[in-house]
Amino acid sequence: MLSIPDEIQTLVESGRFAVRLMIRVDLDDGPQGIWNDLYSVTVDDCTYAGIGGNLQTDAFSGSAALDIDNLDFQISGLSSEAQALVTNTDWHQRPASVFIAFLDDAQAIQHTMVRYAGFLDSVQVIDQADGTSLIHVIIENSNRALDLATGRVRSDSDQRSVGGSTDGFGKYIKAANAQAGDIYWGRKGPHSPVR
């Protein structure tokens, strides 16, 4: 059930409205956004580059059981705005949100509401002859943070966020270095509630 303000409901009932999807990724250097209209627009300090039909998302799956349903979306690999999301930047596990924007029939944004929140988990760049150049992005649902007591994940950047910039996952791979520190994963660890 979507909760829509009254003035938007009026617009919806008169049939003269449009919706667009906005995807925002909070990278270390600031938020980057794309949306499937044609012009750039700034909402809440994030500038969304208009990439038109070069953005496709799969269906949003809602769940009452706190399942971790991913959201897949494809963006054109040839669009510089799409490349800006993932090229030369640490994108892994950065917060990503998908908004629905309600537009009136003059194509101006009247309302935005968050539809999906999660973390950028996987980015696959696909190029093929006589085929499509696309970037396939998977956003992991933020429900994952509920499944893992600490919200931590098995990644290099996660380890550095705990152990400092000189720490990292690679440090613990060799057996000889195994005593360098404890790796906490899943429900066990100092951040977990005492059971």
Partner: protein, 223 residues
């Protein structure tokens, strides 16, 4: 002589038939109360089905050469809408033979007006530098460049130019990033207006050495 990209639509004396329409992207659903809910999910773009009938070996070869010149994967070109299903749009309905005799400031009119204002609903525009007495009717087209592409709009409610100015209602709505106040002013084109298009799918060719028809579908490249 070198080729200019995007390629302009050839002005050969060749019959062109087909249809140009506005492709909207809308989803509809039935509401619980029995009404129909409908939503626009993407900006509308122009779509043209072109059937070009070339007569004679020379015309056929010239058209083939033009199709060959569309380099690049998108095969983009400057698409001109089709009028009455049987010819390329050229001039407004009330000026079937062109703009001869129309003047602005005592100089012959070039077919370009200036965008001087956009209404708040983004579907009405005001134009300046227009020749007095010119009548623009529903169904006429105009185009103007903005950003990296040309925008094409159909006139829904026309008018007669007076004091070198006219207000029109157009469809699709003017994009939010088009600014009528920028300098230099945006020039609106009334002769052979066009938008940037690309060819979707194949160009089919049928006929013989005397008469050959090239058919293809093109979609507007909105950005």
């Amino acid at each position: 002589m070198s080729l200019v990209f995007p390629r302009s639509f050839p002005d050969y004396c060749t019959p062109v038939s087909g249809v140009t329409d506005l492709k909207r992207f809308q989803a509809a659903s039935f509401d619980g109360d029995g009404g129909i809910g409908s939503v626009d999910i993407a900006p509308a773009i122009h779509r043209s089905q072109y059937n070009i009938t070339a007569r004679g070996r020379e015309a056929i070869a010239t058209w083939r050469a033009w199709f060959q010149s569309l380099r690049g994967g998108a095969r983009s070109f400057q698409g001109i809408p089709i009028r009455d299903g049987r010819k390329l749009y050229r001039w407004p309905l009330t000026r079937p033979r062109g703009f001869d005799g129309l003047t602005v400031s005592s100089a012959p009119w070039t077919g370009f007006g200036t965008l001087t204002g956009i209404g708040t609903g983004k579907d009405t525009i005001t134009l300046g530098d227009m020749p007095n007495g010119l009548v623009l009717s529903p169904g006429d087209y105009l185009s103007f460049p903005s950003g990296s592409v040309n925008h094409l709009h159909m006139i829904l409610e026309g008018g007669t130019v007076s004091s070198n100015s006219v207000s029109l209602t157009v469809e699709p709505t003017i994009r939010q990033d088009v600014d009528a106040d920028i300098s230099p002013a945006i020039a609106c084109q009334f002769e052979r207006p066009f938008c940037d298009m690309y060819i979707a799918g194949e160009v089919s060719e049928s006929g013989d050495m005397a008469v050959t028809t090239f058919s293809f579908t093109a979609y507007q490249k909105p950005r």
